[in-house]
Point group: C2
Chain length 694, copies 2
């Protein structure tokens, strides 16, 4: 059999591009140094054969997957610490500073850790995530943000070093999700023994979902209803040891296990947990804010704003992570579309690269554009978050600042973008998978893992519909403020612009304005409908809100699209100043494609509220197709510029060298089912069947 | 811990319904006798403990899944034959006929088999399908439709009895899909030895995908390029034994194996296959149509129409099967939404069933409506298929008939509906999964398997975009015919209606007409754009077609929606005559909801081509929400009426008794990872890590 040669098609694509993918990569990474640092880290791990999988995880049983992820995860953490020490020493030498405690954990280090674990490096090694991740995200940050000084002294250093402690964070219950006030787990304070007694009163009160809870964590932060002398004091957080530090056996009164396989994220070891009269000392309620004194007096929280902040932070991170997933999928689909040949365009010519079919370009290129623009939005949201937190901190210190009002805007914005971006990422990854035809369906193409993680993000840390309704509530308030001529937050100001669409020469501005008008009108419609349900329909405010649900969701979604469109248009102007002209042109094309695509996907809402003529729509369609044609030649260079290592993509279809068919075949041959020419079931089942006695 | 009681919410739902689900079930099954027959068959299998799974398949390794599906599949076939014999005997006694050969296979029996294997019973036992299915679908039907009398005598009876033969059908190759003329596998006729010599010249020529090919089938129908004395005679089908009848070892020159895990359908044992100088006798080319004579003369096929017919048949079946998948998902989501309580509507009331949230109704009810209407369309398509085939057969016998023109219409319609219905089913199943929040993400909820099978159907037997482009080509021809005042097929006649939308009192008629106008205008736009690319752009016809790709897809999709909407409106009129008034009203509501929902989902296209005022749109929205409210109270009764056995749904969330939380917990505890309180990796990996030396 002839050997399939290294893919000439990809080489030609790279040669024909007008941009250097390396320029794109430098811009994308935020600078040369950042790019090199990341590459060095990649190499540090990927060059180590200990991280190669002998068997593809998709061939493993659920139990094997856990054991594999756990084993690999412990190696990973050890190696990551090794890397950090090296870097720390290099920095020290560089700065000529004295020796420092290398085990100091600061917030920055924790943020870095999270990025490594949930970013490209983490997904490269653990395509369905791994059980130790929640320790470094929710567990440590809760200790930091909720524990008082004594608690941090007792727990934080040990937890950071994994010294006898692996933690997770338990909030959601089997029967209770978004509505946290409905949680059933309770902690009763026993004044005499100065202890809390934890109980799970019902089956629906079982904790359910925490990552690593099943068989990995031995300490849990538990959200429970606090009762003191029978009086309820809201939800509080408690530190509970659930497995023995030496034997890892579940502690008395603890019922714990793994919840079983899922659509994705099968390396996480999500668990269930129930308490039966489990006692913990008083100093294991996290007391940085609310407190229970020894005698049972309850002291209310003074700083609820920062608690709020953590939720916002997690959502900001999700926007960033799903964008990576979308662009990984886009990279795989683009390279595959440049290698795969199918269905002649010209009758007597050979089959072309499928990327030459306009319909294929229309599947792939808008997703690349979307991913890039969501990255811009994620960066912006991150700066907004940092500014707001700083203002709140300064205000806490007595410095005046506008942090609180801003926090409400940030919260609404993060809810809205989390919902819109995860939805679009989930849908986009699926479009990209389908664009690869049958081969996209193979587990070895890795769309399933990427899609699985995005699907999880769609629901966790604020369910999609719930967050959009929260956004809508904010919009309703702001709409009333606008009518009352009150000051509006920056992201909402467009609601006040009453001008109708006048179609000018700037197509993007036309489109952005049309979206703003649609969002404004949809907000108004929802508001009016809600009012009508109350006045004419005789419903309570809450019933009216329920009855306006579809319209509120539509308003919040359009608001999200307005934010994303305006944000990317604003950033484009700055971008073009920082990069070379060729790259600047490509970035402009991407932003333009994203804006037009958003409009076409929302065309119903746009035309419902704007009068746009057939000729103008034709202009829009034509520009859209021009952009596809223009971006076509740089498609491979752009996805190369995202600089995902082949291991990050983890896909037989998407590697840099384009050896798609060899990889599909190698992966198939590696499959354990193929290690014997005749499967054992032939003797036991097939042969008796084949005797023709059926 | 308190025991969660049997679900009172579902009981209340059933009591409050205005229809009896049993009435719905009788209508849905096509009559009382059909319903009882199906239930008896269900019981025959489900009461047999041999078909219970000790471990949930989602916990198994890929290899275990195969072995499990194979073992269960052989039991299933034996038991199915037993059932058939019993029925045959009953019929004989009933008809007082003499003994008949019970092994006679006729086409009807084969169709029944297919329905059992790919219908609800098959998916109940094999949620990710099983390796023997293709034997009864593609392999046997190809022998029937392509084999000559001698070949049928030699192979068909044995294959039907599985007497030494398990077959599959190998067409697609690693590098070649939709464009079958690009297939590389070749069969050279050796005149001297009167044999064909099969070869796979390249890696991309490997057969890839056939179900059961990996380790199960021992005979394959192979599609290969026929060469006689170096001259090419197109694609022909060859019967090749690939595994030894006694040992099951691959035959000399055969390279065969399993292609590995996928997004779904992991019980199928899809395989790869290559030939190296594999010789077969001349009478193993299937010769009912084309023939190769002993001396190497080639005789062309005389009846290509019937070949065409098989393709159409398969697509008709797919429309039916994905509809079942969609409705299984809808059943699970509806019952869950009636059991799950979340997020208060009234501030001081307890958390309501989530089905009371309007946003939840808007997710679930339109999918139920869609599934019901697609079922109507599938039935209609099936009748159309049967009529057409009969006409062609009669014409073949000399009786005049319009079969050929009709076949082109049928082909276009089946391409179009296959694409539109699989797309909507895939999307709908995903909406329904998401509507179940976090628990929808659990494998035990079974959305992943249902979604996986629908995703496969989206791509196989005609890739989505490819089929829509074929439909569009047909529409372009018909549009030219319409302009030339030629006769049009019934499903296309609306293209000739030039009347603009005039909004009358019949809302459904308004909406249907608006969709027709949009489809017509979109066809015209695509046609004009294509023409413009040729005349002004200087492109060839084929290039112009490529450049019009997006517009062609939009036209074909709208055409599909017009067909589905008009079909369900037409059938609704008849339906209401055959059922009791309460049921008739509910069916009418379902059809109405489907039509309005289709319009709202296509609102961009509708408003692009029709002038519809704000008030009219408001009317549409309000009617839509009225329908949601009206159907809300019958939602559970309707899905009960689909009469899916709990085993068919295979879901912890969707069982008839609503014991959602108990089942989630039982399934979690059954998970093999939970059989030991401390996993082995604790000693090997976690304990060393926990020494705090990280």
């Amino acid at each position: 059999m002839e050997k399939w040669s290294d893919c000439i098609d990809l080489r030609r694509e790279r040669e024909a591009a007008t941009i250097a993918s390396e320029d794109f990569a430098v811009w994308w990474a935020g600078g040369r140094a950042e790019l090199e640092e990341r590459r060095a880290l990649d190499r540090f791990f990927f060059d180590d054969p200990e991280f190669d999988d002998a068997v593809h995880p998709s061939c493993m049983s659920y139990k094997e997957r856990y054991e594999h992820a756990l084993a690999k995860g412990t190696k990973f953490l050890a190696k990551l610490r090794q890397w950090q020490r090296t870097r720390l020493n290099q920095e020290k030498e560089h700065q000529h500073q004295g020796p420092e405690d290398e085990e100091t954990m600061d917030i920055k280090a924790l943020h870095n850790y999270r990025q490594l674990l949930s970013g490209p490096l983490g997904t490269a090694l653990f395509q369905q995530s791994f059980p130790l991740r929640l320790h470094f995200s929710m567990f440590l940050s809760t200790l930091l943000n909720q524990g008082n000084e004594e608690q941090q002294r007792l727990w934080l250093g040990r937890a950071w070093r994994l010294d006898g402690i692996i933690g997770t964070y338990a909030q959601t219950e089997l029967g209770h999700g978004s509505y946290v006030r409905g949680l059933e787990t309770r902690a009763d304070y026993d004044v005499e023994r100065e202890e809390f007694v934890l109980n799970t009163p019902t089956l629906t009160g079982y904790k359910w979902w925490p990552g690593g809870l099943g068989h990995t964590a031995n300490v849990v932060v538990v959200l429970a209803q606090l009762y003191i002398r029978g009086q309820h004091h809201g939800l509080q957080q408690f530190l509970v040891r659930i497995r023995d530090e030496q034997t890892h056996q579940p502690m008395p009164g603890i019922d714990v296990g793994d919840i079983g396989p899922k659509l994705g994220a099968n390396g996480v070891n999500n668990g269930f947990l129930a308490f039966r009269n489990v006692r913990i000392p008083r100093n294991q309620m996290l007391m940085q804010h609310a407190q229970v004194l020894a005698d049972g007096r309850f002291v209310k929280a003074s700083q609820p704003l920062l608690v709020y902040g953590t939720m916002v932070f997690v959502r900001v991170m999700i926007v960033r992570d799903v964008m990576f997933g979308l662009l990984q999928a886009a990279t795989i689909a683009t390279r595959y579309a440049a290698v795969r040949r199918q269905s002649p365009i010209e009758p007597n010519a050979p089959e072309p690269q499928i990327l030459n079919h306009l319909t294929q370009q229309a599947k792939i290129l808008p997703e690349i554009a979307r991913g890039v623009c969501y990255r811009l939005a994620a960066n912006d949201l991150w700066s907004f978050y940092q500014r707001t937190m700083q203002q709140i901190t300064e205000k806490g210190k007595g410095t005046p600042g506008g942090g609180e009002g801003q926090l409400a805007e940030l919260h609404a914005l993060s809810c809205c973008l989390k919902s819109v971006c995860t939805q679009d990422a989930v849908d986009g990854i699926d479009v990209l998978r389908k664009s690869c035809g049958g081969h996209g369906y193979m587990a070895s193409a890795n769309f399933d893992s990427i899609h699985g993680l995005a699907c999880a993000a769609f629901t966790y840390e604020g369910e999609h519909t719930v967050l959009l309704l929260q956004t809508a509530r904010f919009l309703m308030r702001q709409y009333a403020n606008a009518n009352a001529k009150k000051e509006l937050p920056a992201s909402i100001c467009y609601l006040r612009n009453a001008a109708q669409l006048s179609w000018g020469s700037d197509l993007l501005e036309n489109v952005a304005r049309a979206l703003e008008i649609s969002a404004t009108e949809q907000v108004r419609e929802a508001w009016q409908w809600q009012l009508e349900q109350r006045t004419r329909g005789g419903h309570t405010e809450e019933q009216a809100t329920n009855l306006a649900g579809r319209r509120l969701i539509a308003a919040a979604t359009l608001h999200g699209h307005v934010q994303l469109v305006r944000n990317s248009m604003r950033q484009m102007l700055e971008l073009k100043r920082c990069v070379n002209p060729q790259l600047g042109e490509v970035l402009q094309q991407l932003v333009e494609l994203f804006v037009l695509d958003t409009c076409l996907r929302q065309l119903g809402a746009v035309l419902k509220w704007n009068s746009i003529g057939a000729e103008q729509l034709q202009q829009l369609e034509q520009r859209y197709e021009q952009l596809l044609a223009a971006l076509r030649s740089n498609a491979v260079a752009i996805v190369d510029g995202f600089d995902f290592d082949d291991r990050v993509l983890g896909s037989t279809l998407g590697c840099h060298d384009g050896r798609v068919y060899e990889r599909l075949m190698e992966e198939a041959r590696r499959n354990p089912l193929n290690q014997e020419p005749v499967n054992a079931t032939y003797q036991t089942h097939l042969k008796p069947l084949l005797k023709g006695k059926l």
